[in-house]
Amino acid sequence: MAAMGTFAEAGADLEFIDISKRFPGFTAIENLNLTIPAGSFFALLGPSGCGKTTTLRLVAGLEEPSAGRILIGGTDVTQTKSFQRPVNTVFQSYALFPHMTVLENVAFGLRRRKIDDPLGKAHEALRLVELDHVAARRPAQLSGGQQQRVALARAVVNRPALLLLDEPLGALDLKLRRQMQLELKSIQTEIGLTFLHVTHDQEEAMTMADIVAVMNKGEIEQMGAPEQLYELPRTAFVANFLGQSNLFTGPVTGSTADAITVDISGRGIVVPRTRAQRHAGEVTIGVRPEKLLLHIEAPSADAGTNVLGPGRVTDVSFSGVSTSYIVQIPGLGAVTVFAQNMVFGPVVNEGAEVWVSWTVDHGFGLEDEPAHGSRFPADSSTNAIAVQRRADLETELEGA
C-alpha cells in the first residue's frame, strides 16, 4: 500500500503466483509464476502479443488477473486498486498530461501522496534527467526523447518500490536509445529501485537487465542472466529470439560421461552433456553464428571441434563490425556464420567451397521435442513481429 507522505524504503520484490489473464476470446497469460528480486533490473522480453505488456498492466493494477495472486514486497496486492499500489509506470506512450507544465507533471504523484515540498523534489528529479531547464514548458513543446525523460522523472520521483517500464525507448532513434539505456541503468543503480522493463528489443534487454525472462505465448520460456540465456538457450524460441542460432536435429548415437554425439545427416556432432537438455532420442542442437569458423580447406579432425562441410557460400553481407556468410551444406540446409572483419573485405566470396567448425564447448542442446519445433513458427520470425507491430500501431492510431 502506498503510504501517505513517505517514500518506499527500498525496492521491493514482486511475486506472481499462478497468474492467469483471459480476455474475451483469448488467453493472454496462463499460469504464470515469477519472482523478481528486490533491487534488480528485470527485463521481460518477447514478441508483440506474448503477454508481456499485460503482465506489466497486472502489476500496475490496470488489469485484474482472472486467477492467481500478485505480491509486492510480500504484501498481497491482487485486490488493491491501482492508485494504492507502490508502483509507478513509464508508459509506452509516455501519457504526459498535456494540460500541465513539465514540472507539474512530475510533481503530480508527490502532490497526491501529500509529500513535503513536491516542487523541490520535482526539480530534483528533472535535474536527474537533465531537463530542469524545460520545467516550465508543456509536454507538447518537448522532443520525443525529452518527453521520455520527463515520463521517467515523473515515475522515479515517487521512489516507487517497483518501477515498470513499458517499452519506453521504442519511439526513440537508435543513438538516443543507447544514451537513454545507459541513463536508465545508471539511475537504477543510483537509487536502487526494482525495475521491471518490458521490451521486444533483445539487445536492449541484454544490455540493461540483470535478469532477462523470455516470454512467449503467455508463458516464460527461460529466465536468467543475459549471458546465460545467450550462451545456453534452452528452447528453440529463445535460441532464435535472443540473437540468431544455427539449429540441427538428429538422433543421439553416442554418449560418454561428459558428452553426447548427435548424428546430423551422417556427421557426428559432439555436445557437452551439461550443455544439452536432453540426452537421448531425437534432439535439436545449436550453435551461435559467431562461434563458427570458416575454412577454405577441410580442417583436420580434432576431438575438441565439430566440423560440417563442405558447403557453398550463397550469400555474403558486410555489416561493419562483422561479415555474415550463409553457407548451404548439402543435407543440412543453410548455416549462418558471423566472422569478425579482421582483414579488409570478405575472406571468401560467394560460390566458394567452405567448411565450418566450432569448439565442442560452444554447442548447446535444446529441450524442445523436435516434433514440437513447429510450436513457435510465426512468432519467432522478425517478419511476423513487424506485421504485428504494424497492426498494433494502426489500432493505436485509430484510437487516437
Binding site: 502506498a2 500496475a60 493494477g61 490496470l62 486498486k81 491501482s82 492508485f83 494504492q84 508502483v87 509507478n88 509506470t89 508508459f91 506512450s93 501519457a95 504526459l96 498530461f97 498535456p98 494540460h99 503530480f108 504523484g109 497526491r112 501522496r113 508543456r138 507538447a140 515523473r154 515517487n158 487516437a400
Partner: protein, 304 residues
Amino acid sequence: MAFAAFASTDAAVTKPARRASTVALVLLLPGILYMVLFFLTPLISLVITSFQAELPGGDIGDYIPGLQWQNYVDSASEYLPHILRAFGYALAATVFALVISYPIAYFIGVKARRWPLLQSLMLTLVIAPFFISFLLRTLAWKQILSDESPVVLALKAVAILPADGHLTGTPFAVIFGLTYNFIPFMTLPLYTTLERLDIRFLEAGNDLYASPATTFLKVTVPLSMPGIISGTLLTFIPAAGDYINASRDFLGSSKTAMLGNAIEANFLTLQNYPVAAALSIILMAVILILVGVYVRRSGTEDLL
C-alpha cells in the same frame, strides 16, 4: 550581378504569398458582404435607435434622431430586475445543464466506446428533441407542469408542494424549461471532447496515486475544458436572451420576465424602440464582457 540575384529571389518569395492573400480575400468576400448586410447594418441601426429621443407632441412610436444617453440609464434602472433575472436564470440553467449533460456525454463518449451502435443510438436520442419544434416542446412542458396536471397533483399529495402552490409561472419552471431546452447544446460539445479523451491519461493518473475522483478532477475535467467552455457558452448566451420559456404564454409569469421579455414588450407592445434597442445593446455588451472574462480565465488556449 549578385544584387540582382538577391532581388529576384526576394520577388520570388513574396509573389506567391500576395497571390494567396488575394485569393483568400475573394473567397472571404461573400462572407464579409453577408456580415456587413445582415449583422453590421442592423447593429448600427440598433445603436442609432437606442439614442433616439421622443418626438415632442408626437404619437406613440414616433422618435427623432438624437443623442439620448439617458435611454441607457433609464432602461437599465427600470429593467434591472429583468436583467438580473436574465443572467441569474441563464447561469442556473447553464449549471444544471452541465451537471446533467456531463455524465451523459461521458457515458456516450468514453464508456460506450466499445459499442459504436449504442453510441450513435444515444447521440440520436440526445438530438431527437430537435425533430419537434422548440415551441411545441415548451408548450408540452407547460401542460405537464400546469396546476391540474398529475405531476402537480402528485407533488401536492405528498406535500412537497403546498396546497395552493403552482409550478408554472415560477422561477423553477423557467429555469427547468431553459435547462431542458439547452441540454443538447451542452451535451454535444462535451461529447466531442470526451470522445477524444485518451484513456491512457486516466491510467497514468491512477498510476500516480490519484483516486478515481481525483483523476476526474485533475485530469478528465481539465482535458474536457474545451467542451465545457463551448457547451456553457452555447447554453448561457442564448439562454440569457431567451424570451420563450419565461414568457407568460409558456412557463413563466410577469414575476419571472427576463430581459428578452422586456425587449419584446418594448419593441412590439409599448413601441418604445429606443428603450428596446438600449436593452438589446446592454444584453449584448454584458454577454460579451462575461464571455470574454470567462474564456480568458479558464485558460484553455493550449487546448482549443
